[in-house]
Assembly symmetry: C2
Homo-oligomer: 354 residues x 2
């Protein structure tokens, strides 16, 4: 049942997924954007991915930005692994060469914002693909997956979500290996919201990391655990409001993904949250992140956009009271309150409601 | 609303709780068992707790084992903070002096086993207290709380569970401080089961810590997150089977407590699990733990007793299929399979069910 598969985006996750794709016996193309050229050249020269620091499987064929047509030629399945803000552009570029494509699988995580409108990435893909005038199934991937671990074949679970459950099941049959397992769901909005929201909530958990570094606390796991359970509670409220499924949040795509995100302490969102927790204000923390080359912190726009959306909507505004972490996060990001004040507010709120 | 409160057991948690109890304006006695004598002497001499390495509040009065009558004199509220296997004995000893007691609050976590019968600690207390022939409310405490952090006033949440919700609410009014917040519930069995089960599941998460130390994996957070979400899933199944509430498991008493338990990497249960994950068999790991003075690993008997109970019961046996972590944990503890085999079995099971 070997398929010809192309991965668009040669960053960490796009490159990492080629390992199970090749191990499950598929023919794999890896195409990189203009930003990926140094990575592509390094792979061509050494066989090794410069950030992942491992050799990619020999069955993986690497393509330069200008070779998008060749990369897509004869491929039935496309993985999209570019940053969330680039999904639309890349799909537009790829469409002319997608004659053979039957499935588009979105590895990118995040939400798409146009004007004040929030769209999930599968909605973005669906709008673009409509132009093909053919039946193409869209599948969104969630779950706890650090790229560096996947390439080392650490046991990993992918959650494949599609309105066409059978096409998610096809993926399971095609791509599972001994170390890469796939579970399927039709809760597309739940999986996509979790993948985006976990970044915002990781910032608030990062606050506790910062706090543990000042004063004589040493560790503040009591606080971290309090924030973690509150984050899951709020993600459930939001996902349910959007029609998603509670179980998705409690499972690998929600709790699982949030857990890997906070465990990877050098990750952008927790790092940024830690700086705030140490006492920096928003501008100082952003400046510090930029200085270390980290310009995008996805949890920031996600929090602001989703909170704004909920605030404006009459239908959703009733759930706002239950979202004390999200509310105080947005207040901190806007410079209205300090993390210390946010934590007092959170504690009071949890105590009052409990 | 100051009360006279006594804490029975001067270990880490019993001593730590005196800090918020005193800060909330109560008169606090701390009584130690025969095992606690060195701790008590050290406090008497220096004011400091030898394991917690902090001074206890001046309002805390320390009592030796033979002063149980004096320690209990005039107290309306008793906290039980001895190890779970000692709860029954200590209550029997205290009963003659409990004339003024109106509330018994159980900080100890675990299950009590007599013959093949499983009892929660509040059930044990309830049986003993029946002999008093008076109305005494029993409250079980759960939630994420590392003693060393509580004494440093890290923001901490206690979950107070009682069939008499109003008496749990009394505790909230009496003991809350700025850093110690209390939420209440009537899901006693849910809170108590979570407090016991989290130790067993922490062992399985410890497997992943061991695995990360061998081979060239470095980190295995993908696997850890997979195990964490599966642990929560199984705890929900067990708690629901016993009539407890799903929300308890997803909240601070379940997920929260499991998270602090696995975060405290020097904890007994995760340490033991890590040794198994590194490739030691059961006997080797036990020997190693004993050599470092850690003779009790509560998650072991809890897993074996609960699994045995579920297996014997016709009513419960239908849920066994959903408990792959618990099943493989018991198999590993009995020397039937290795952790490596357990992990393969877990992955296959999750993939088949998903």
């Amino acid at each position: 049942m070997m398929k010809k598969v192309v991965v668009l985006g040669a960053g960490m996750m796009g490159s990492a997924i080629t390992v199970p794709l090749a191990d499950s016996g598929n023919y794999v193309n890896l195409w990189g954007t203009e930003y990926d050229v140094p990575i592509l050249e390094y792979i061509k020269k050494t066989g090794t991915h410069s950030s992942l620091k491992v050799s990619l499987p020999k069955q993986v064929h690497v393509f330069y930005p200008e070779e998008l047509d060749k990369a897509l030629y004869g491929c039935e399945i496309v993985f999209i692994a570019v940053t969330s803000d680039a999904v639309k552009t890349i799909l537009k570029r790829a469409l002319p060469y997608m004659d053979d494509v039957r499935k588009v699988i979105i590895l990118s995580k995040g939400i798409h914002v146009e004007n004040d409108n929030i769209m999930s990435l599968s909605q973005v893909a669906s709008e673009e693909i409509r132009n093909l005038g053919r039946d193409v199934n869209i599948i969104s991937v969630g779950g706890p997956c650090i790229a560096e671990e996947l390439v080392k074949k650490v046991p990993t679970l992918g959650v494949y979500a599609s309105h066409s459950l059978s096409s998610a099941l096809d993926c399971k049959k095609l791509f599972e290996t001994k170390y890469y397992k796939i579970i399927t769901t039709d809760d597309v909005i739940g999986v996509e919201l979790c993948a985006a929201l976990k970044n915002s909530y990781a910032i608030t958990i990062g606050w506790s990391y910062g706090l543990s570094e000042i004063g004589d606390y040493k560790t503040v796991y009591n606080l971290e655990s309090l924030l973690l359970t509150q984050a899951i509670k709020e993600m459930r409220v939001i996902v349910k409001s959007f029609g998603g499924n509670d179980e998705t949040v409690i499972g690998p795509a929600g709790l699982g993904d949030l857990n890997v995100t906070i465990k990877k302490v050098e990750g952008r969102n927790v790092s940024f949250g830690r700086l705030l927790g140490k006492g920096m204000n928003f501008e100082e923390a952003i400046k510090y992140m930029h200085a270390s080359g980290k310009t995008t912190i996805e949890g920031i726009p996600t929090a602001i956009k989703i909170y704004g959306f909920l605030t404006r909507s009459e239908y959703f505004s009733q759930v706002l009271d239950e979202l004390i972490l999200l509310k105080t996060l947005v207040d901190v990001l806007r410079g209205k309150i300090s993390v210390k004040e946010a934590l007092s507010e959170i504690l009071e709120n949890i105590s009052e409601r409990g």
